[in-house]
């Protein structure tokens, strides 16, 4: 205890009292920030499930994924953490929030499931969580604390691996079948896949400008429903018929 008196705690101690000020000196800050980020990530992930309002769910998801990026930084995966922030939080979730805004008409902001479904999902989720936790905690090698080995920053090896060269090879002289593979081919496949997917998504979600006489006639004949549909429709597309409108509004 005497060792703690010299240092910042010596100032805090009289203010906070012995019980609060003393532990600060022994805290492992890596663990502290891990617990902070893990609590935020898990807490808001559960909040996503618990919330009924879809706008709040989107907000909670942003916070949960942002905290997960913090966990990646703490694990030494700086590049993955940065990509998580930029692609996930900055891209995918903005897309999701746009989707929420485009479809968030009053009746659909909160669609509640039945209570029975919720109880069933809670029970199944608890069982699944128990199985996963048992598996996670049952391997002794995973519970051993870290050796304190400090890794290199990983951006350069990742970039080289994506063009097919592994600079993190433990043994460059090893025969080819024992060496680690590069990721040039998966990288190319993913790039083309992303391009095709985005073109396809733009095609699927495009605003349809074609107005058939039938659609105009239907829209004119059911005036109140048509105004709702006009409000709801993305672009200038009219829903296909009066029966669909009547079903959609209930």
């Amino acid at each position: 205890m005497m060792a703690f008196v010299s240092g910042p705690t010596a100032v805090i101690e009289p203010l906070l009292g012995l019980g609060l000020a003393l532990p600060v000196a022994g805290v492992n800050w890596h663990t502290f920030f891990f617990l902070l980020f893990a609590a935020v990530a898990c807490g808001f992930a559960v909040a996503v499930v618990a919330a009924d309002n879809v706008v709040r769910m989107a907000l909670y998801l942003v916070l949960s994924l942002g905290a997960t990026a913090g966990l990646f930084f703490l694990a030494g995966a700086e590049f993955v953490g940065a990509m998580q922030l930029m692609i996930y939080v900055g891209g995918t979730l903005v897309l999701l929030v746009f989707g929420v805004m485009l479809t968030a008409q009053a009746p659909f902001v909160s669609i509640k499931g039945s209570a029975g479904d919720r109880v069933l999902a809670g029970v199944v989720g608890a069982v699944l969580l128990a199985v996963l936790l048992q598996a996670a905690l049952s391997v002794p090698a995973w519970r051993r604390p870290a050796s304190g080995h400090v890794g290199q920053p990983a951006a350069t090896p990742i970039g080289m691996a994506l063009v097919g060269v592994r600079v993190d090879e433990p043994d460059p002289a090893a025969p080819a079948k024992n060496r680690r593979s590069g990721y040039l081919l998966p990288f190319e496949i993913v790039s083309v896949h992303l391009l095709v997917v985005l073109v396809g998504a733009a095609y699927l979600a495009r605003a349809k400008r074609r107005k058939t006489p039938r659609a105009i006639e239907v829209a004119a004949s059911v005036e109140p429903a048509a105004s709702v549909a006009e409000h709801a429709a993305i672009g200038r597309d009219r829903p296909r018929g009066a029966s669909v409108l009547a079903g959609g509004r209930s």
Binding site: V48, V80, Y203
Partner: protein
């Protein structure tokens, strides 16, 4: 930390010990289960999408934890860079999947004026 203090307050003792892979696995498990429950419970199509994002993130946490150089015990085998690269690919594919799923949801909304997945039963046999 002073062991007597650590034994008196278990949470503080937990704070003073280093993080291991199992800690990350617990976080990944909670994210995964939240995502599965979200996919099962939500009737809003966008809620189902959010559940998918949570599931993918839970898997990513595990990949990064197994790849981390900081979390390996002495002599332990690490995934090395492979884990981080797989996590990157998962993030990219999640972005692609979100774009397509969102386009389908908007199309469904255009045609049916709702995002309730229970109403998507036109193909019911």
């Amino acid at each position: 930390m002073n062991p007597s203090v650590a034994s008196l307050v278990p949470v503080l003792g937990f704070l003073s010990e280093p993080v291991s892979v199992a800690h990350y696995l617990v976080v990944g498990a909670i994210l995964f289960v939240s995502g599965v429950a979200c996919m099962a419970v939500k009737r809003n199509a966008l809620g189902v999408l959010m559940g998918i994002e949570l599931v993918l993130n839970g898997a990513n946490v595990n990949f990064v934890a197994f790849a981390s150089p900081y979390l390996q015990a002495e002599g332990g085998r690490s995934l090395g860079l492979d884990g981080q690269l797989i996590a990157l690919f998962v993030i990219l594919l999640a972005a692609a999947e979100a774009a397509v799923a969102l386009a389908i949801t908007l199309n469904f909304y255009n045609n049916h004026a709702t995002v309730d997945v229970d109403r998507a039963d036109d193909l019911k046999g």
